[in-house]
Amino acid sequence: MNVLELKNVSVSHAQGLQRNTVVHDIDLTVEAGECFGLVGPSGCGKSSLLWVLAGLNPHWEGDISLFGQTLESGKVFTGDLRRRVQMVFQDPYASLHPKHRLRRTLAEPLKLLGLPDIDERISEGFKQVGLTENMIDRYPHQLSGGQRQRVAIVRALLLEPKLLLLDEPTSALDMSVQAEILNLLNDLKARRDLTMIMVSHDPDVIDYMCDHGVTMKAGRIDQEKHYT
């Protein structure tokens, strides 16, 4: 089954009253359970495309179908889709609220959805990514970069997403910490029914992680590659 199908998709950013188109005519499909890689130099449009898939940029044209549901350009995500697609951002320092304890940041979406057993879910999530429970009541600045990125991954996973979007999840981290995070992601993918789309400028990371990937260049797909 295809989780995601893009046909003839172009993405633009609003620049004053004008639109600046940065991604042109993208066709691609992502199957359930695979790790899909988007690789390319900075400025090639890979993150812009990912932001559209996360529902963060409504300025796109073409046909997108996500979990069999056709998206409409210019509209925000509604209903279940918001929960099924989750994103992990590049900078672990900027993606957690600096003045809230981790428990508060992590509990917020769960409360909003009215889920039961919030505390249990959070401590379960912490165990899954190899953090200890006593860290739940810390502030983000009391954690290292690698630990923070793990918390960002927990935040995304608590909502039980089907599609996890990863925007350069390891490029702000040390090489040795990167290895830990990549192992963790591989582990989670094997344990859960999870589809991942990963953006990186490092071809080695994509080669290591992904089952299927494309190289982008100046807003277009340059090369498609199947690893298995």
Binding site: D174, M175, S176, Q178, A179, N183, Y208
Partner: protein, 278 residues
């Protein structure tokens, strides 16, 4: 290219906070006109060590050493005025991110000329010529126009080249590069490192290259020093890296992902075991 001049000679270097917390716990090293890499994770004290060699540590930090010689100057108790004579002249530094390290309100030409203004007396015309020549040497196109541009008009790779031009314009004897490529993307990274390598070779300088990516620096350096939690735990020639015996060096060497490692977990650090080694 190694010859006998000792550029840096440090014995028992300690850097700590006022309250007695030690951040760098007594390291010894020396280097001549050679390319040396200082590798470690964030928080291992590698940047502090490098900054202490430039006299750029915050006032709240206490530096102590048995011997702390830079280009045969005893710099341990230097004040800022004495440092100013060395910095940017005989020792200079390239920082991590050109977005933050360059002054956004001054044009490139003025920033690259500043070390010349401070350390040499030359006519305005000669200075402009030297700046343009330097910008050309670091592989930037159109130096005459670039001189008038501002940092926000440049890409990350170009910004890093400008910083390199600033650092090298006075022909220093030692260049310290503190993670010069970690803000850049993959393709540009190798270009900048190649450039640093060839310029250092050409000018017969010493290079202290700081990084967290062991595999990447190995190609550009002759010797590698590995730091962990404020200690220098391993020291070896770059060609011996594949056969490193220290578990920390081994892991840093092999944790980089690539296509041949697909399907197998990457090696990670066994931090508890490392604690017992210290």
């Amino acid at each position: 290219m190694t010859n006998k001049t000792t550029l840096v000679d440090v014995r028992g270097l300690h850097i700590g906070l006022n309250d007695g917390t030690q951040l760098v716990k007594g390291i010894d090293f020396s280097m001549g006109r050679e390319r040396v890499a200082l590798v470690g994770e964030s928080g291992s004290g590698k940047s502090l060590t490098a900054r202490s060699l430039m006299g750029l540590l915050a006032d709240s930090l206490v530096v102590d050493a048995e011997r702390f010689q830079l280009l045969e100057h005893p710099v341990l108790n230097y004040d800022q005025r004495q440092w100013n004579r060395l910095r940017g002249h005989q020792v200079s530094m390239v920082l991590q991110d050109p977005k933050y390290a360059l002054n956004p309100t001054q044009n490139i030409g003025r920033q690259v000329a500043e070390p010349l203004l401070l350390h040499q007396s030359m006519s305005r015309k000669a200075r402009t010529e030297k700046v343009e020549h330097m910008l050309d040497a670091v592989g930037l196109p159109n130096p005459a126009e670039l001189r008038k541009m501002y940092p926000h008009q440049l890409s990350g790779g170009m910004g890093q080249r400008v910083m390199l031009a600033m650092a090298l314009i006075n022909d220093p004897q030692l260049l310290i590069a503190d993670e010069p490529t970690s803000a850049l993307d993959h393709a540009v990274r190798d270009q900048v490192l190649d450039l640093i390598h060839s310029l250092v070779e050409e000018r017969n300088m010493g290079l202290l290259l700081i990084s967290h990516d062991l595999q990447q620096v190995a190609d550009y350096c002759e010797r590698v020093m590995v730091m962990y939690q404020g200690r220098l735990i391993d020291h070896l020639p770059a060609e011996d890296l594949p056969n490193a015996t220290h578990p920390y060096t081994q892991t840093l060497w092999s944790c980089r992902p690539n296509i041949t490692k697909r399907g197998q977990p990457l090696p990670t650090l066994d931090r508890e075991h490392l604690e017992t080694l210290n």
